[in-house]
Symmetry: C2
Subunit: 548 residues, 2 copies
């Protein structure tokens, strides 16, 4: 098969994606209308387009949807239609969808209704719940082109194990969402689909690499989605659209038959997990997936059943807080979000101490070296299939000057050991925290920013710095993203007294403009140790409750 | 520091090791006496040298020792002295020790006695139990030279986490045992210490790479030892000395600060686990180590507490048996051992089916490629420190012609993926086994040979083939070695009708000589899936009971 012309092909794909939308939801002038009406928030604009009945449905989260479908207050079909309609509109406004099968998915929803009617039973805990999938998640008959033109038109023959588990649980999959080239960027842009905007402000990035998911769920075009995370790719889009998101530790959620860049890089691998407007959606996803015992099919999944973590909802917690990592000063609303968490937790009677890890700066160094181990060779090779150029943000972040040449195995193993040394020191520091707490217990979790800035402006990725997200990839933490507040231009003034400490700090400082970011959500990370997903969710719920 | 002369240094080290033995246990003519008295079995010869009181003590296993020490029937000191005496004699007969601290360890035993006397309490579940350590396990103040001359005289500054856990539980460590150069061989030989013989027949190999452990425990110079396994290195010495041994899955027992070859090679890593004359010793070790929650300090350890597996001791089991892997026909006593297991399990009412995995031959291919990924570069580099040559068995097994050059990261990741594909197929075949059983359940475990031959003759490593051990490294199984029978020259006749299928099969066939192997133990593997140590131990106990 000859590769398509990278210059003309994207237009073809866009047209195909457009034609895949049911006719009654298509409108090539939709975005112009939105702008003409003075909207920059796609979610709010969509609210003006859809009937109230649908708005009511799409405001429900996954567990509620499962409940009302099971109790026959709503049909799967009604739910699917409401979400698909919004998804189709969001797709035309933010460019967040790369594959769709709305008609087939509507038929599946009808089938689920029939089963429920005939048997009186749901097929599983997600009966009728629409679930969106990041492009990487293989679905038979569809591409997993992962942001490249040259890999398009190579439909997969088999579903990802995770997709099968979700569908067996009754979920209705219907779209695959956009990713940046190679999934190696915190903003979602590629030659194949162009730019995916933030659904709450289309002038801003949706984040990345699960930016299509973030944008779609942010627009309420999906109640639950699947993303992946190798440097923050679930957490950044969650944070940028004010969603809950879980970065599980490696080996908790199956990645089998999920197409990936740097596949086989197992030392700091990409992990797969949920994004959701509610924490309960995250928990339902995890209970369902882990409950399916994926370790029976995916060798990388560890055989740990879903565990009770109610202890952490009832006892006093000890939380370590790191507002500033010592390298890059977060923008004012980010610092305020952390402050609000501290105040809320203290009000609720929990102990809060400062978390400070001596080797914090090492995380970005080790993470960056792992990302750059092949000096971008795989990316260049895959671009070469179609002749397309590497997109600028990926070029910017995968630093080809990191090493004189592609690492050989001995050098790679040395790097893996360097990471292990850092992990060991991190665990020691965590244990050592017990000596600094009133409870005498080590901290239960770390709370810190997700990203130093609000979602940056379209293509202005120079302020991008992974220093708050990558550390938890290095130590493979279970991390939950929790929405805290929104930027308020009257409160979150630029700190005119601050003197940036380095060039990147300066870029981050310079990029902050309260006028631009007004109203955009700010989230924090709640990070536990490795394979502590249940605990991280429990503590996130304590935090969310304390913030109410 | 200049490296010592590799030609003269070994004699120096041997003399130092000799001088480290308490004077009353030293005898430079010991081995000559043994030979003069017509012994080839070092254990039996030692039985003639030690007092009955000591023989009685050294016949006890670790849990029994812990019990009789706790109940003050024996002192820690008496126990230590009995084992150390045998260890010192074994060391002089089989060359199984590379570091020792008998006097300090005797002092530690006395201290433990004092604590028990004063407090009435044991310090932990291993109070007073002597434990031997493979050379790799770091002990502050001692080398972990791992079979090289150039790395000798670089004493470690800190204990391995595992050593600390065992000592905190009351264990008395006293020796580090020999390994082959780089731990990359199934027989234990290096330029630094020479050859480690099988303690049941000093003309045969003790196995490797935990050959020093196997030899020492086989001579009853230790009731419980620590080995490591990247291709069979716990299992082969266990099998060759008729011991129980556990190859845990990666991430169950802490490897932190255990010196290693190819350190950082995390895709099919060496794992660390126990060798013991009794299965109860294996279980006590695992309960103690996992109970210490090593994941709090070692990031590679998964947070899975020790689980109840009594279910597998009470219900009918479904066992898959693979006597022949389709590539290398095991020698007659090995086949008979498997047959005896089948008969015993059937007698006990368990279901036994044939286990056949279509891709069985792929295991050795993938394993061999992982071993050879750096074409032996690290080994050559480490030899270059002293100028010593690579020992022949390592030269033979690490095939420098596997690839045209050292793999780069992209090639390495491809190889990691190839391994993952094989793991996925293996899991699918395991699940598929349910369709072939009367119970309708998938198999609980696989029983198969450990090695195609009995322990081969000294330096005759040409028959060495890892095809029965390496597969479980590739799929990271929890595997227990179970002693079944002994070679009987009257029963285990050479099969004159067999026509070898390939060159290696021919070597294995040719190497078999019932006269040479008469009386040597034969063991089998009981392999469960990943991170199923409790289940593997439970099923091993069912097998062992059924064989009684």
């Amino acid at each position: 098969m000859t590769a398509p012309d990278w210059k003309t092909f994207p237009a073809e794909i866009q047209e195909k994606l457009y034609q895949n939308i049911p006719e009654e939801w298509r409108d090539k002038t939709l975005k112009d209308k939105m702008l003409a009406e003075g909207f920059i928030n796609a979610k709010e604009f969509i609210d003006t387009l859809v009937p109230d009945s649908e708005k009511k449905i799409t405001s429900l989260d996954a567990p509620t949807l499962a409940k009302v479908i099971a109790s026959r207050e709503l049909t799967s079909y009604e739910v699917a239609k409401a979400f698909f309609h919004r998804a189709a509109l969001a797709q035309q406004l933010t460019n967040c969808v790369i594959e769709s099968w709305y008609p087939a998915a509507l038929a599946k929803a009808k089938e689920l209704d029939k089963i429920l009617e005939e048997t009186g039973k749901v097929v599983g805990p997600l009966h009728g719940v629409p679930i969106s999938l990041k492009d990487q998640v293989d679905i038979a008959g569809f591409d997993s082109s992962i942001g490249y033109i040259g890999t398009y038109n190579h439909p997969k023959s088999e579903n990802a194990l995770l997709a099968t588990i979700l569908e067996n649980a009754g979920a209705v999959t219907y779209v695959k969402t956009t990713v940046p080239m190679a999934m190696m960027a915190p903003e979602t842009v590629s030659n194949i689909h162009g730019y995916t905007s933030n659904s709450l402000n289309i002038n801003l990035t949706s984040g990345g690499s699960s930016g299509g998911e973030g944008s779609l769920i942010g627009a309420q075009g999906s109640p639950l989605g699947v993303g992946t995370d190798i440097g923050g790719s679930i957490r950044i889009p969650s944070a940028f659209q004010g969603l809950y998101g879980l970065r599980p530790s490696h080996g908790r959620v199956p990645y089998l038959r999920v197409t990936n860049s740097y596949s086989g890089q197992d030392t700091m691998p990409s992990v797969i997990g949920p994004l959701s407007p509610s924490l309960e959606g995250i928990e339902l996803f995890m209970q369902t997936v882990v409950g399916a015992e994926p370790w029976r099919q995916d060798h990388k999944v560890v055989p740990i059943p879903w565990r009770d973590a109610s202890e952490f909802k009832t006892r006093k917690l000890t939380i370590g807080v790191m507002a500033y990592d010592g390298c890059i000063m977060p923008n004012p609303p980010v610092l305020r979000a952390v402050d609000e968490c501290v105040a809320a937790l203290k009000r609720a009677g929990h102990e809060v101490i400062e978390w400070k890890f001596e080797e914090q700066a090492e995380f970005s160094d080790v993470g960056g070296k792992i990302f750059a181990a092949d000096l971008g060779q795989e990316i260049r090779d895959t671009c070469a299939i179609s002749g397309e150029p590497v997109v600028p943000v990926v070029e910017y972040l995968v630093d080809e000057s990191t090493f004189p040449e592609i690492l050989n195995v001995n050098q790679w193993w040395d790097l893996c050991n360097k990471k292990y040394e850092l992990q060991t020191k991190f665990l020691a520091a965590w244990a050592e925290s017990a000596s600094k707490t009133a409870s005498g217990r080590e901290i239960d979790a770390i709370i810190c920013p997700v990203w130093a800035t609000p979602p940056f402006e379209k293509n202005k990725f120079e302020s991008a710095v992974l220093g708050y997200s990558v550390p938890f990839n290095v130590v493979d933490s279970s991390v939950v993203i929790v929405p805290v507040t929104k930027v308020d231009k009257l409160i979150d003034l630029k700190d005119e007294t601050y003197t940036p400490k380095n060039a990147k700090d300066q870029q981050v400082y310079d990029s902050y403009n309260p006028e631009v970011y007004h109203g955009i959500p700010i989230c924090v990370q709640v990070a536990c140790k490795r394979l502590e997903e249940e605990k991280a969710i429990a503590i996130a719920s304590v935090l969310a409750d304390s913030l109410k």
